[in-house]
C-alpha cells in the first residue's frame, strides 16, 4: 500500500513536471501576441553581397548583406510579409547572419498599403525560446545527478536571486539608504538561507554562518582600508559597463557579494570536518582538531582562490581582444580592463584565507560547548 502510494505520488509529480516542461516550451514558441514589439519570423534569407574589408590596423574581415523575407507574427500586421535587410560581418562582434526560422524583433517602416509588402529594420533577436530549453537542461542535470542536494541548489539560486532583486528594488526606490548598507543586510540573508538550505538546522551550520559573516566582513574592511590608504590608485572605474549609479558603491557592493559564496564554501568545509572529527572521536583534543583543521584548510585554499579568479577574469576576454586588435598597448589594455576584476579576485582570496582560521576556531568553540553539555 505504502509503496503504491509513493509511486502514485511520483507519477503525479512526473506528469505535472512533463506538463510544465512541454507547456512552457510551447508558450515561449507561441507567445508572440504577448509582446508589444513587432516580431517577424524569417522565411527566407538570401546573401546579396559580400565584400572584404581591412580596417586601419590591418585586420581583415568580410561584410555580408542579407535580403530577408519574413512573416509578421503579432500585432495588426500579423501574417503579412516583411522585407528586411541584414548586414553582418564574419567576426560577428555585434551582428550575425540570420537563417530560416529565426525570430526577430523589428521596427516596421511607415504603414504600407494593404497589398504592398512591409519593410522594416531588425532590432534584436527573440532569445526566450532558446534560453528556456537550457534552463530545463540545467534543472534536469542538477536534479538527476544531485538529487535532493541538486534540487536545493536550484532553490537556493532562485531564492537568492529573488532576495537580490528585492534588495535592489528597495535601493532604487530609496536611494538615500546606501547601497552598501542594503547589500550588507542582503549578505546576512544570503548566508543564512544558503547555508540552512545546503546543510540544514544544526550546530555545524550555525558555526559556518558566524564564520562566513566574520570572514566576509573582515576581508571587506581590509579591502576598504587598502582602498582608503592607497587613494584607490590603480583602479580604473571607467571600465564598469552599464553604469547608472555612482561607481564606487556599485564596485564595493559587488565585491562584498562576490566573495560570499567562496567564503561560505570554506566555512562549511571547515565546520563540517571539525564536527566530523569530533563525532568520530569524542575524546579528541583541541590541539589535534586545530592541526587537522588547518591541514584541510590548506588543501582547499589554492583551488578556492582560483575558482574566483577565473570566474571574474574570464568575462574580460572579448574586451581585451578588441583593445589589442585596435593596437592598444598591452599595459594600458590590461590595467584598464582587469584592474577591478583583479581587485575583486584578490579581495575574495583574502576572504577565503581568513575564513580558514575563523571557521576553525568558531567550530572548535561550538564543539567545546557541546563537550561541556555532555
Amino acid at each position: 500500500m505504502n509503496l503504491k502510494n509513493i509511486t502514485y505520488k511520483q507519477i503525479v509529480f512526473y506528469m505535472s513536471l512533463a506538463v510544465l516542461v512541454i507547456g512552457s516550451l510551447l508558450f515561449v514558441n507561441n507567445n508572440h501576441s504577448f509582446y508589444d514589439r513587432p516580431i517577424a519570423k524569417v522565411l527566407e534569407a538570401d546573401l546579396e553581397e559580400a565584400t572584404d574589408v581591412v580596417d586601419a590596423y590591418g585586420n581583415e574581415d568580410r561584410l555580408f548583406t542579407q535580403s530577408i523575407e519574413a512573416e509578421m507574427k503579432n500585432g495588426a500586421v500579423k501574417n503579412r510579409n516583411i522585407h528586411l535587410i541584414n548586414e553582418y560581418s564574419s567576426s560577428g562582434a555585434f551582428d550575425q547572419a540570420y537563417k530560416e526560422g529565426d525570430e526577430l524583433f523589428v521596427w516596421i517602416d511607415e504603414e504600407a498599403g494593404k497589398d504592398e509588402e512591409l519593410t522594416g529594420t531588425i532590432q534584436d533577436v527573440k532569445r526566450d525560446k532558446h534560453i528556456l530549453p537550457i534552463v530545463w537542461i540545467f534543472i534536469f542535470i542538477l536534479h538527476l545527478i544531485g538529487k535532493r542536494q541538486g534540487f536545493f541548489s536550484i532553490i537556493s539560486l532562485l531564492l537568492n536571486a529573488a532576495i537580490l532583486s528585492y534588495a535592489l528594488d528597495i535601493y532604487v526606490e530609496n536611494s538615500d539608504i546606501g547601497l552598501l548598507i542594503i547589500c550588507g543586510v542582503t549578505v546576512v540573508l544570503f548566508t543564512i538561507t544558503s547555508l540552512l538550505l545546503i546543510n540544514g538546522f544544526n550546530e555545524k551550520t550555525y558555526a559556518a554562518i558566524i564564520a562566513t559573516l566574520l570572514g566576509t566582513f573582515i576581508s571587506f574592511f581590509i579591502t576598504y582600508a587598502v582602498l582608503w590608504m592607497t587613494g584607490e590608485n590603480g583602479l580604473r572605474y571607467e571600465a564598469i559597463d552599464f553604469l547608472s549609479r555612482p561607481f564606487k558603491p556599485v564596485f564595493l557592493a559587488g565585491l562584498l557579494i562576490g566573495s560570499l559564496g567562496a567564503v561560505m564554501d570554506v566555512a562549511i568545509t571547515m565546520s563540517s570536518s571539525v564536527f566530523e572529527m569530533y563525532e568520530n572521536n569524542h575524546a579528541i583534543d583541541n590541539k589535534t582538531l586545530k592541526q587537522s583543521g588547518l591541514h584541510i584548510g590548506r588543501d582547499i585554499m589554492g583551488t578556492m582562490t582560483n575558482i574566483l579568479f577565473f570566474a571574474y577574469i574570464s568575462g574580460s576576454i572579448p574586451m581585451l581582444l578588441l583593445f589589442l586588435k585596435n593596437e592598444s598597448l598591452w599595459g594600458f589594455t590590461l590595467s584598464l580592463n582587469l584592474s577591478l576584476e583583479l581587485a575583486r579576485a584578490l579581495a575574495g582570496g583574502i576572504g577565503i584565507v581568513l575564513a580558514i582560521p575563523i571557521g576553525l576556531y568558531i567550530s572548535i568553540f561550538f564543539v567545546n560547548r557541546k563537550r561541556g553539555r555532555v
Binding site: D124, L164, R245, F310
Partner: protein
C-alpha cells in the same frame, strides 16, 4: 601605492601565515594561471587559430597547475585531470551550440554605442567561438575543484575498504559529489551576482520589462554563463566518480594478477 599590489601582498602574507609552504604554492599558482590566460589571449589574437582548440589546451594547462602543482602528481590528481579534460570537451560542445543559437557573442548594443566611436569592430576574429571559450574559462576553476574533491576522498574509501566493488565505489563518489554540489554552485553564483551588480541596477533603473529582459543579449548571456557553470559542476560528478572507480578497481585487479604470477 597601487591597490592591486597592496592587496596581493596582504593575500601573500595571509597565505604564508595560514598555509605555510602550500600557501606559497597557492599564491604562485594564481600568477601562473594569470600568465596562461594572458598567453591564451595573445594566441587568440591570431585569426588563423581556432579559439575552441586554444581554450581546450589552455584549460588542460590550467588544470595541470591547479591539480599537479598545488597538490602533487599522484593517482588522485591524475584521474581528476582526466575527468576535467573529458568534462570540458563535452561542455565546450554544448556551450558552443548554445552561444550559436542564442546569438550572444561579442558586445551588447549598449556597449557598441560607446565602443564603435573608439574602435574598429571588424577585427576578423570569430566572436561566437570566443564567447564559448570565455564561458568555459569562467568555470574551469570550479570544475577542477570538484574533480579533486571527489577523487581524493574516493581514494581514502578505497584504502579503508580494499574489497569494495566498482559499483559501490562509484556510488560513494556520486554521494561525495552531491554533498559538495550545493556549496560549489553557490561559490560561482555569488561570484557572478557580484560581477553583475552594475548590470542589475542598470536593468532596474531603465525599467526593462520582463519581455525585454528575457530576450536581451546581455541578460541571456549572463544567464547562460550561470547555467553552464551549474551544468559543468554537476556533469563532472559522475564522470570523475566513474573514471576513478574504474581506475582503482582495474589497478587492484592488475596488482592481484601480478601477485599470482610471482
Amino acid at each position: 601605492m597601487n591597490v592591486l599590489v597592496v592587496l596581493a601582498i596582504i593575500l601573500f602574507i595571509l597565505m604564508v601565515l595560514i598555509g605555510g609552504r602550500k600557501g606559497i604554492r597557492s599564491f604562485i599558482s594564481l600568477f601562473l594561471n594569470f600568465g596562461v590566460l594572458i598567453l591564451t589571449v595573445f594566441f587568440l589574437l591570431d585569426p588563423a587559430m581556432n579559439p575552441i582548440i586554444l581554450i581546450l589546451i589552455a584549460c588542460a594547462i590550467i588544470s595541470c597547475i591547479n591539480l599537479f602543482y598545488i597538490n602533487e602528481v599522484n593517482s588522485k590528481t591524475k584521474t581528476a585531470f582526466l575527468s576535467t579534460v573529458i568534462t570540458i570537451i563535452f561542455l565546450v560542445l554544448l556551450i558552443y551550440i548554445m552561444t550559436n543559437k542564442l546569438m550572444i557573442q561579442g558586445f551588447t548594443e549598449e556597449e557598441v554605442e560607446e565602443l564603435s566611436t573608439l574602435f574598429s569592430l571588424y577585427i576578423g576574429l570569430d566572436f561566437v567561438k570566443i564567447a564559448a571559450a570565455m564561458i568555459i574559462v569562467s568555470t574551469i576553476g570550479a570544475i577542477t575543484d570538484v574533480a579533486i574533491s571527489i577523487t581524493s576522498p574516493m581514494q581514502e574509501i578505497f584504502d579503508q575498504n580494499p574489497d569494495i566493488t566498482k559499483k559501490d565505489l562509484f556510488i560513494s563518489g556520486i554521494r561525495i559529489g552531491r554533498d559538495i554540489l550545493g556549496s560549489n554552485t553557490n561559490t560561482l553564483f555569488f561570484a557572478f551576482f557580484g560581477g553583475y551588480l552594475a548590470l542589475l541596477l542598470w536593468v532596474k533603473d531603465m525599467e526593462y520589462s520582463i519581455g525585454e529582459i528575457a530576450n536581451s543579449k546581455i541578460f541571456t548571456s549572463e544567464l547562460l554563463i550561470i547555467l553552464s557553470a551549474g551544468i559543468g559542476i554537476a556533469m563532472i560528478i559522475p564522470i570523475a566518480s566513474w573514471i576513478n572507480s574504474y581506475y582503482l578497481v582495474k589497478k587492484r585487479e592488475q596488482d592481484a594478477l601480478q601477485k599470482q604470477g610471482e
